[in-house]
């Protein structure tokens, strides 16, 4: 079976700039969780934006769930985006809505009934450990809690794929660890997950693929490494980035 995300010799440059990605090929298999690392400005966010059709590649072919993105016209983008959940470093929550209303948004745009929405939102908040915070406003929550609201929103419509861009960038190591645990739990029930992150210290012990983007090229560590080789492989990376590009 083909991968859920396939990059085939993809290059990208923003108008007037130089290549951010150069001939990148990559496959995320169905049901797989992978981490995307690399120095700041390497193009991790760009990589995810390409998959989410927030930008179009300059060259190459991207296929998601067997469908070439080049075939998706502008008007079809909303329906395409409803196939996956996205998580952002700056949470992207609406401050004037309760936690419940924020998490309910993906169901609202799909026209679910109120009863159905209530059930699914509570289940989703339960899964991220935020039961009882439904009526709270995001501003009254800690960063970790807000990020978990964002995750609840991303998974509430049961997408097959999660894309997360620096989901732990604004969190302390403890909360960051909890958030990573959440992604692994969703992955265990079959969701494919791609996480762009600086938090190498958190992930380098995990038995998951770690991709590294640098100078426009993608490299990969195949095996789950022992602690010391992992530290060597990425010794130019800070062990934990506490928000150098906070929103």
């Amino acid at each position: 079976m083909s991968g859920i995300i396939e990059f085939d010799n993809v290059s990208h440059r923003y108008p007037g700039g130089q290549d951010i990605l150069t001939d990148v090929s990559f496959t995320l298999k169905r049901g797989e969780l992978a981490f995307l690392t690399g120095p700041s400005g390497a193009g991790k966010s760009t990589f995810l934006k390409l998959a989410a059709l927030l930008v179009r590649p300059t060259r190459g072919k991207i296929t998601v769930d067997g469908r070439p993105l080049s075939e998706i016209r502008r008007g079809q983008i909303p329906a395409y985006r409803r196939q996956f959940g996205m998580i952002f470093q700056n949470f992207n929550l609406l401050q004037d809505r309760t936690v419940f209303d924020n998490v309910a948004m993906p169901l609202l745009i799909r026209g679910h009934s109120g009863e159905d929405i209530g059930r699914r939102v509570r289940a989703s908040l339960d899964a991220v450990g935020l039961r009882g915070k439904e009526r709270a406003y995001p501003i009254t929550l800690s960063g970790g809690e807000q990020q978990r609201v964002g995750i609840a929103r991303a998974v509430v419509a049961k997408p097959m794929l999660l894309l997360a861009d620096e989901p732990t960038g604004n969190l302390d190591p403890h909360m960051a660890g909890e958030v990573m645990q959440l992604f692994m739990r969703f992955n265990e029930v079959g969701v494919s997950v791609l996480v762009a992150t600086h938090a190498l210290a958190l992930i380098h012990r995990l038995p998951h693929r770690i991709l590294r983007l640098d100078g426009g090229h993608l490299s990969e560590r195949d095996e789950a490494p022992s602690v010391d080789t992992a530290d060597e492989a990425f010794d130019d990376e800070p062990p934990f980035d506490d928000g150098e590009d906070a929103a």
Binding site: R81, M86, I109
Partner: protein, 316 residues
Amino acid sequence: MSASRRVSTQPSWTSRLALDHVRAIAATLAQLRDRPLSTLLTAFVIGITLALPAGLNTLLRNLDTASGGLQGTLRASLFLKDAVDAAAGADLARQISKRSGVSEARYLSREQALAEFKAHSGFGEALDILKDNPLPAVIVVTPDPRQPQAEVDALFKTLTTLPEVETTKLDRQWLQRLYAILQLVERSVLLVSGLLALAVLVVIGNTIRLDIESRREEIVVLKLIGASNAFIRRPFLYTGLWYGLAGAVLACLLVASAGVFLSDSAQQLAGLYGAQAQLSGLSSDAVLAVFGAALLLGWLGAFWTVSRHLSAIEPD
């Protein structure tokens, strides 16, 4: 695996659409209620803008009715040939007055005509220097005011062809002038209405634009999670409709109060012209037109703005 993970209980698209609309209606009404002052202000501006053409139209219609009433007082003067003597003239007047559609026919002999002219022209004694009376005898015919215009015209036509009648003069020129003026005013009202409709469009468009601007963040999130354009657009279109609706209600209230305010003076004025015009308020047709136009303009203004500004807001 992917199939089983996808949302399996998608509601049918009809119930979904109905639910979407109900939610958009509830949400937009709640938004407007949450900022009553700015909502009222916008509705007021639209109301006044709509009240002007609606009021002018009502005024015009009243003038039309009033001038129709004046037509009843229209008279024709039949100037008789010199050969017709006083007895024959008076006889002819009696015959004419018996015709259907004639309410009065009064004979004025040459002497009476001169006397009347002396009395009304202001030349007075100066006319004494004339050796001969230059005026012909005349029969002044007043048609029944309840007659339709066409029959009055037909009547005058037959009277003109009577053998005793030299010429006929219809006392009508000023009415024709009035009609010409009314027509001009009517055109101007149409023009002004068009311009004011444009103003309503701009006011609603601008209000919606500010609304879009203040909800930029929400629109970005909606686009990120895959909300369709129709879904994002819907609340703004409803907001436009509500502004139009509120404006229409206010416009009708304004015109109605203006009608009450002006009715006394209108009656006085009508009295001066011998007409008994009752000032009529907005007709039900006009009310319908105001609401229809307001809703259409509200929707159009919102649609126009939304199409121009929503696509510019993209997540980056």
